[in-house]
């Protein structure tokens, strides 16, 4: 069923491990620099790349045989985004008065 041997070589694991540690260090340092409104954006970007690294390599999502697992992950993220952003539509637009 699986295209190549289940266990990817150790090299990939250690490279991903290094990248994750680097990501943590970067998150910590980036928070100390004043980037104005971009601070949370950078923090979330680094966190998302780290999460993707763990999911793709450590959780063997990358060489998963068929697309079903990827679909499950994608739809979960989609529904999480619905919860976060649709609720935010209310909280962002509350102070707006009707410009009549």
């Amino acid at each position: 069923m699986h295209d190549h041997s289940k266990s990817s070589p150790l090299k990939t694991y250690f490279m991903v491990w290094g990248a994750l540690l680097l990501g943590t260090f970067l998150t910590y340092e980036a928070a100390l620099i004043d980037l104005g409104p971009f601070n949370p954006v950078v923090a979330l970007a680094i966190a998302t790349t780290k999460a993707l690294l763990v999911a793709l390599f450590f959780m063997h999502l990358k060489n998963a045989s068929e697309r079903l697992l990827k679909l499950v992950v994608a739809s979960t993220i989609f529904f999480l985004m619905i919860l976060l952003f649709l609720t935010m539509t209310d909280y962002i637009s509350r102070p707006w008065t009707i410009a009549s």
Partner: protein
């Protein structure tokens, strides 16, 4: 106001009545017409995509029409006219306390003249209630810690039901009242008796008592921003945001001054959380609003219609 809600309701009633009739007659007719008969086999029909598309697109189109109409009615219900007389309503577990701008206080009843727009500024002392007058087709939840707004114009004299429609505890069904709509003459007669002076006057008194005047002075040397004519105008904040100075902004600035500090001023104002009751808060807000004359352009776009945000706190019951 009730008219256009009813119009939409009648339209929807007819539309869904027709649809129900259509489905019911189709069911009964098919059931009778294609009853099982010996030897007659059913004719297999796979389905037809064009038919499916038609009864997907057409309902969607009809729904969008209903949505638009509903939204228009909604906007009318949510935009109080500017020159409406204001009544401050405080929901408390199992009674409604109402205060006219002219100072009259009422419990579970509201006297209004015929034909005048009445803007209700609603808040609650404890749990969520809901201010609902079925005959006027209006309903607005009353959220503790915040102002919400509703408005109506009574067209026919009489006495109408007032209900609390958001479950609020044991006497939820007892939290009812009446709206007395009176001829202007009767209203004036009723108004003359029992008034302790306009709300803004008692607001001024509280303003002085609590020492607000020491910082908020009419000249501009005071440590607090000058409140003359600021109501309804946009305010530049310390962190650069622009906020409209509406009732919720005033309430929040009194109870949690640190959250929206005006640019150029230091956040030295102490919080009045717990020192000011709901009624005193209403009076202070009425007073500050009276400082900017209604005809002033500022008040124009202050139509605090949408229920405002602002995480202001309720405060301890006096």
């Amino acid at each position: 106001m009730a008219g256009n809600v009813d119009a939409l309701y009648i339209f929807l009633l007819i539309l869904s009545g027709m649809m129900t009739l259509l489905i019911f007659t189709a069911l009964v007719y098919f059931a009778a017409r294609y009853r099982h008969r010996k030897g007659v086999l059913a004719e297999q029909i796979e389905g037809s995509t064009p038919l499916e598309l038609t009864w997907t697109i057409i309902p969607l189109g009809v729904f969008m029409v209903i949505f638009a109409w509903g939204a228009v009615v909604y906007f009318q219900q949510r935009t109080p006219p500017r020159d409406a007389t204001e009544v401050y309503v405080v929901g408390k577990q199992w009674m409604w306390k109402l205060e006219h701008a002219e100072g009259q206080r009422e419990i579970n009843s509201l006297h209004v003249p015929v034909g005048r727009d009445v803007k209700l500024i609603l808040t609650s002392q404890d749990v969520i209630h809901s201010f609902s007058i079925p005959e006027f087709r209006i309903k607005q939840d009353v959220v503790p810690g915040r102002y919400t707004v509703a408005w109506f114009r009574a067209t026919k004299p009489g006495s109408y039901h007032l209900f609390c429609t958001q479950y609020c505890g044991t006497e939820h069904s007892g939290m009812i009242g009446t709206i007395e709509v009176m001829e202007p003459a009767q209203y004036e007669a009723w108004m003359s008796g029992g008034s302790t002076g306009p709300l803004s006057a008692s607001g001024e008194r509280i303003f002085a008592e609590l020492g607000c005047a020491t910082c908020h002075r009419s000249d501009s040397q005071g440590r607090g921003p000058n409140l003359q004519g600021m109501f309804g105008k946009p305010v530049q904040l310390e962190d650069g945001r622009i906020v409209t100075a509406d009732e919720n902004y005033l309430r929040e600035s009194i109870l949690d001054p640190g959250s929206k500090v005006v640019r150029g001023f230091k956040p030295v104002m102490p919080t009045f959380q717990g020192l000011v009751s709901e009624e005193q808060l209403n009076a202070l807000v009425a007073y500050v609003k009276s400082l900017s004359p209604p005809s002033a352009p500022g008040a124009k776009n202050a139509a605090m219609s949408a229920p405002q945000s602002g995480p202001g706190q309720g405060n301890q019951v006096q």
